[in-house]
Symmetry: C2
Subunit: 321 residues, 2 copies
Amino acid sequence: MNRPERVRPETRRRVETAIKALNYQPNLVARSLRRRHTKTLGVVVADIDDPFFTKIVRAVQDTCGESAYQVIVCNTDEDIEKEKAAVQTLFGTHVDGIILAPTFGDHRYLVNYVRQALPIVTINRRIRTPRLPCVISDNETGCRMGMEHLIKLGHRRIGIITGFSKTSTTTDRLRGYRRVLSAHNIPYDARLVRCGHLRVEGGYEAVKEFLGLVPPPTAIFALNNAMAEGAFVALRDLRVRCPEDVALIGYDDFRAACALQPPLTVVAQPTRAIGLQATQLILRIIESGRQGKRSLILPPHFIHRGSCGCAVTTGVPTQVG
Amino acid sequence: MNRPERVRPETRRRVETAIKALNYQPNLVARSLRRRHTKTLGVVVADIDDPFFTKIVRAVQDTCGESAYQVIVCNTDEDIEKEKAAVQTLFGTHVDGIILAPTFGDHRYLVNYVRQALPIVTINRRIRTPRLPCVISDNETGCRMGMEHLIKLGHRRIGIITGFSKTSTTTDRLRGYRRVLSAHNIPYDARLVRCGHLRVEGGYEAVKEFLGLVPPPTAIFALNNAMAEGAFVALRDLRVRCPEDVALIGYDDFRAACALQPPLTVVAQPTRAIGLQATQLILRIIESGRQGKRSLILPPHFIHRGSCGCAVTTGVPTQVG
DNA sequence: TTGAAAGCGCTAACAC
DNA sequence: GTGTTAGCGCTTTCAA
């Protein structure tokens, strides 16, 4: 039945009618037990309610669909213990592989799994130990794009609102920030760097602090969508005009970015491509049986809108996935 | 091992150390085969990239976590064929039950599954055949809340942008719309009802059409978050002041609603409660072995913000789940 | 080309 | 209280 070519056409036809007649559906659980794979993938992200991750998950699902894989999604809420639990449960139920967006924290617990040759691909952030294939976007370049743009518009005091300081995303972007600064002979001022914990409230508070400085920054770069939103609202509440008094750029695009006034300029990560490539990569690892080595670094896009102060786009919102 | 109370303490301890020593992990696939259940749930929604569904899925996942169930999410993109395929695959891989947000279309194919006593609970929309337990919010009341509010503010020409016309959500809300109208002796004008297909672009186009009418409506009610966003942008592009010239209310809350200017007034569905209740309901059905009968209708919340024209809230964004 | 048999890892039932 | 066994439904191997 699983190799129809090796069977006499007539027998084959008989079997097929029998299948129809009995409304036979193979028991996939039994098949999994026997074949020792489940055709399902685990995806572990911080929060499926974050549009950044949601778009990646959607891309993973779409790509899996083509290969008849299922996907199970788990949330970590940036808690390494929840991450451990999720990975454990997932491999416990024998997913064939995991796409993991690592929380900040110590990932050495993963060596157990890689030793057992269980396929894991990371996305969004790199981790040091163990060394795993990963699919991310070029965060240093992304940050440089935003910074260069602001500097070109004349800004020299630029506040930056970061995520958790020990993650590769933050360090890569911060490196971009500092390099652009020094390339333009602008001194680094630690007071212009604030951690917003990737949350709306964090962005809001950071802006309040920035505007208490003398002199305050004339531009702000918020390193994820939630913090950009918080920053945006803070400017409004503080009655600081954007972009006239303070320009604002966000990292990661989101649907409502175009509906804000001014529309939010952002550096967008290629979420669809990340999901797609990560899936293809892990599927290749699973199906070849060999641990992958190669990682992928995808380019970010700069999306000009109004909040940086150089152009105002209107019309039906568009979004880069 | 699965019934530790029936075993001598000493033996038990020996077993436990052996488990540790061998790093034994039970094979859940074999267990599923034997116990004839998989401890996983399927969730079928239109699009996991829609914040409305994402919040529900998140609530389902959280509730499942407490009961050690896993969840597999599938997207239908409002395509009944994709829905059929998803349900088929899901039950094919032996999920123990499915939480289904039905697309619009004919759901009679589901009778096969209910006949096999496979547990299904619907959310968001009711379907006629087969009759299934369902968890929704009170859409007629929700729509009435928005309408009454607008009418109290003096509006008498109110445009409404609907989703797909044959769904229970749309018909329930439209019933609310008409009833409020007639309660206030306002004639029904079919030109003030437009389908926006639940999409940003649909909301945008509907507003453009509304504003071509003479006289145009003085208020608009967009029946989901995406269309509300499109409507909002259209007003801006058309240089119609909101709320002074045209008031706007949306259905379903979303994070950026507070960041818009004016902040968007919405009728919010209790997405967390929907996910939670649907999960508890299906878990009860699965674990009792009896088909559930009861459905749940949860109350919506009205969230006053600026776009209706009566109050402007600012501060750190808040959101009702 | 077809049919028969063994076994994946677990658990439920039953004998000890 | 403990040990043994059969069998969940499939696939793979080997014999006919």
